[in-house]
């Protein structure tokens, strides 16, 4: 196990190195990045001064080292608009984004498993066909379009759920006010349903199909036939023998799932005016606030790498086959 952890940690460090190098190089893709930082009407002297102030006159390797050095100290540059440390702005908005992605993760997993199993058990029935067609649609629509349609129908038409706004749960928890956090939960969930559904529709559909097909495969295995032939009821066959094995492919996907959901937050938060990192990025894009976009990309990447590491270590603990492979 120790060896596995060491190998996996080393791998993560290599990836972090790669991510920082990629983000750094991106900034220099269009040549001198100074022009991204100054206004279009800046004079030649102003540009030269800015280049010196931002350090873009130094050799690239030196710039990279100071970029990494700054990052290790939590310094990702200042936002051009807000004139505050970019990382602080991102961290401020992070709880709202985490609430949204976690909710979406829970939604896509808890709904896809029963739906997939149900479809597999009724294989070939109209219910199965209907579910699979819906899942196919779910995988084929842009999430943000579903969001817009949900706003039009559920939000503006039926008026049963809020279409914008956010009620914080994580932030009061971080502030130590657990009473407020718990009290906020029901209202927070009401606000989470539409954006959560929007962000998870693709995963939900894909996972439902995945659970169905892996369930069908497991049900055709010899040990299921054995379980049935020794007289076990169908319920017990499913719950005790098929269920756990059918979930394996889904479980291996969970680590990547979170990152996948994270990449949907930019459009979803924009549609629902969700005050998270995604909308911060959207605003930064429209204002060409490069350091802020960069800080968000680095932050999301680190979060993603860390969660993948965590998930892998947990699996290795649960399933010895993984750490031996």
């Amino acid at each position: 196990m120790g060896q596995f952890i060491a190998r996996r940690l080393l791998q993560s460090i290599v990836v972090i190195f790669g991510v920082t190098l990629l983000t750094f190089m991106t900034l220099h893709l269009a040549g001198d990045p100074t022009y991204l930082y100054v206004s279009e009407r800046a004079s030649e002297e102003e540009i030269i001064a800015a280049r010196k102030a931002l350090g873009f006159d130094r050799p690239l390797p030196v710039q990279y080292l100071s970029f990494v050095g700054g990052m290790l100290q939590g310094d990702l540059g200042n936002s051009l608009r807000a004139r505050k440390p970019a990382l602080d702005l991102v961290l401020e908005r992070l709880p709202a984004t985490l609430e949204l992605t976690l909710f979406a993760l829970v939604l896509s997993t808890t709904l896809s498993i029963p739906i997939g199993i149900f479809a597999a058990m009724r294989r070939g029935s109209p219910a199965d066909g209907g579910i699979m067609i819906l899942a196919m649609f779910g995988q084929s629509m842009p999430g943000f379009w579903l969001g817009i349609m949900l706003i039009l129908t559920v939000g503006l038409g039926l008026r049963i759920l809020p279409i914008s706004g956010h009620v914080a749960v994580l932030q009061p928890m971080l502030d130590g006010d657990f009473g407020k956090a718990i009290g906020n939960i029901p209202e927070a969930i009401r606000h989470l349903i539409l954006p959560g559904l929007t962000i998870s529709v693709f995963s939900l559909s894909r996972n439902a199909r995945l659970v169905r097909s892996s369930m069908l495969e497991v049900l055709s295995q010899d040990y299921i036939t054995t379980a049935r032939s020794k007289g076990l009821g169908e319920r017990k066959v499913i719950m005790r023998h098929a269920f756990r094995n059918a979930l394996l492919p889904l479980v291996t996907l969970l680590g990547l799932e979170f990152g996948f959901l994270l990449s949907g937050v930019v459009v979803t938060e924009t549609v629902f005016s969700w005050p998270g990192v995604g909308r911060l990025v959207f605003n930064a894009i429209t204002q060409r606030d490069i350091p802020l976009v960069q800080a968000a990309v680095v932050m999301f990447s680190f979060l993603f790498i860390f969660l993948n590491l965590l998930v892998d270590l947990i699996y290795a603990q649960l399933d010895p086959r993984i750490r031996l492979s």
Binding site: M136, L156, V266, A296
Partner: protein, 311 residues
Amino acid sequence: MAEKVSPSVVRASLQVTSLNPPQPTSWERMRGSLLKAKWPILAIIILSLITFMAVFGPQIAPKDPNRQSLIERLTPPLTENEAGEINYLIGTDGLGRDLLSRVIYGARVSLLVGFSAMLIGGVLGTSLGIIAGYFGGVVDDIIMRLADIQLAFPFILLTIMVLVVLGAGVLNLVLVLGVGQWVTYARISRAQTLSQKEKEFVEAARSIGARDWEIITRAILPNILAPLIVIGSFNVASVILAEASLSFLGLGVPPTVPTWGGILAESRDQLLGGYWWLAVFPGAAIMLTVLSLNILGDWLRDFLDPRLRNR
């Protein structure tokens, strides 16, 4: 000692061979499988219509997609004018532009970006994958570590950053999305190459003095194409979705070029007014295109390579 086979058995087996009908050609098998599956035919029809829209956009669009008419802004679908004619079949947008013409023109960017990015990613990824699988060693290590790095963080975010730095534009969009796709192709073609290069025909080619380049293009590539084509069709679908998201964020093409994602972005400002047609039609166009590609991909997979089913 070989077992004795009675002459009658030999004769019977010879007869069976001679009675076998000629094997259907791959085109015939494809047609048969298509006719049996039904849905893929519908998908092909829809995709042909959308391709037609994209190619002949200027000829079939009823109006100039950028012509504004502020008096007629936000006209609902099927509205009759004083003369009792329907001027705008599916209505107009916030600047009074004809939505139908804009949706027809939008097909151009989506298909162009979808297919070109798939080709770039496919060629790049397949080449790197074959090189990694065929030569192995350090080259293989480097290529596969690069793939790991790319898979280890949400690529769409890097895409956003690249486009913010480089600026919007079809070429940038195609390049960034194309390069972003290489990993899938590389992993599959590497795995396939590894198994193909142990086959006898590769050994045979090598023993008669074929060069690496010849072995790769003549013996390996044709045998690993099937799964790559399947990946390709799904890939066009996912690139079109990504393009829609990026256009929605204003990172796609310049705003004068109508795109489905761009029209949806504009519809967002009008959403609270309940102008549903602005959102329904471009979104439905994206969904129909992507859905058709996915259905086609599913069928191609079952037809070409059923082993991929659970991947």
